[in-house]
Amino acid sequence: MGLHIYRAGEEQLIEGCRRRNNSAQRRVYDLYSSRMYALCQRYMRNSADSEDVLISAFMKVFDRIDQYKGEGSFEGWIRRIVVNEALTALRRNRNMALETDIEAADWDSQALQTVDHLHAQDLADMIAELPPGYRVVFNMYAIDGYSHKEIAEQLGISENTSKSQLSRARAYLRKLLESYEVPHVQNGGQ
């Protein structure tokens, strides 16, 4: 019932956006901007770039609202636009060193037990530390649900490259998690 009401309200908002109604656009922005801004921050290194991506993405959302045919969730559609905008911005900035190499790190399974309490912001900070190429592939695959095929198409790389970037990103994050946990565990033990 609640979902039905929510859906009806969302459809009204979308219809309002189609009529270029300013208050409907504002409501859509208020509903999704915080989540989309967090998404932008995962892809972009600094908040100024994140803000630019958010602005251009929402302008595209309102501009191309007629292209949303109700297939899939509205939020998913917006999310795709935001990711595309982020990738475009990264490409423009020539900021994607996809071939950055790091030493593979072994995952200490013991550490897994202790990282679950980490705050989302701590994890977001870890992602921000990833080299750009790893960060993008990890974000797309692990969090935003893109397949390797889609990533390869979007970034203009091969699927194998996408897979290797992902495994390296994972290794990098494991290393970061371990280094984060060591002082934490030591503090907890005292």
Partner: protein
């Protein structure tokens, strides 16, 4: 186990919310407003461009000068059977006979018509004179110059003959006179000087192309005219 970092990060970050700075919405609104205005500006600008271009083209079109009048009348020579050329000499004698008739009607015709026969007579006289002078120079110009007066003179005479009742055809007579007086005598000097002389070859060619009304019939004549105007030497004539 292998994907534990993925799961951890997805769970924690998928629905993470970070409020954007308030100025972001203001920028979006501003951008949207600009996007709404831009298409109208583009339409207005393109309309203005079209109007300006049209005005420029229309105002830059040359006034009907000697070449245009001559060239406009030349195609008519093609439409009229060759008898017009054969009549060029003989009917002039007849026309003189006709003109000899017209003075009898002078008292009845309006004053404008009364002026016409002398001027027309001048035209026919010139028509006779000019070909005689030019025949030694160029064949094409002979045809062009000789054909003009005869064509104009023929309707003019008929107009005068029947123009006792109606004065409208007098205009044709005046036009022929104007062409005769203004341009035909000066044709050679005008072509060789000022605008035509200073214009580029392509410009001349384009001007001629603009004047083509009947592509099949006119092209040959245009070509001949262009060569005659631009290469006045005797080489070409000798070849022909």
């Amino acid at each position: 186990m292998k994907n534990i970092p993925d799961d951890l990060f997805r769970r924690k970050l998928e629905h993470l919310q970070t409020p954007p700075p308030p100025r972001a919405w203001e920028k979006i609104e501003k951008g949207m407003r600009r996007k709404r205005i831009t298409p109208w500006l583009a339409i207005a600008a393109s309309l203005l461009l079209v109007i300006t271009a049209a005005t420029l083209i229309l105002t830059r079109q040359p006034k009907p000068d000697a070449h245009e009048i001559a060239d406009r009348q030349l195609p008519e020579t093609n439409a009229i059977p060759d008898t017009s050329y054969s009549n060029a000499d003989e009917p002039l004698a007849e026309s003189s006979a006709d003109t000899s008739v017209t003075p009898q009607t002078q008292p009845q015709s309006p004053p404008v018509v009364s002026d016409a026969p002398p001027s027309e007579a001048v035209a026919t006289n010139n028509a006779q004179d000019i070909p005689d002078k030019v025949t030694g120079d160029e064949e094409q110009e002979d045809i062009a110059i000789a054909s003009l007066p005869t064509l104009d003179s023929i309707p003019a005479e008929t107009a005068i003959a029947s123009g006792e009742d109606n004065t409208a055809p007098v205009k044709i007579v005046l036009e022929a006179e104007e062409v005769q007086a203004r341009y035909l005598k000066k044709k050679k000097t005008e072509d060789a000087t000022e605008e035509v002389a200073t214009a580029s070859g392509i410009r001349k060619l384009l001007d001629k192309a603009d004047q083509i009304q009947n592509p099949i019939g006119d092209l040959r004549q245009m070509k001949n005219e262009i060569f005659a105007l631009n290469f006045p030497g005797n080489k070409r004539d000798q070849r022909k």
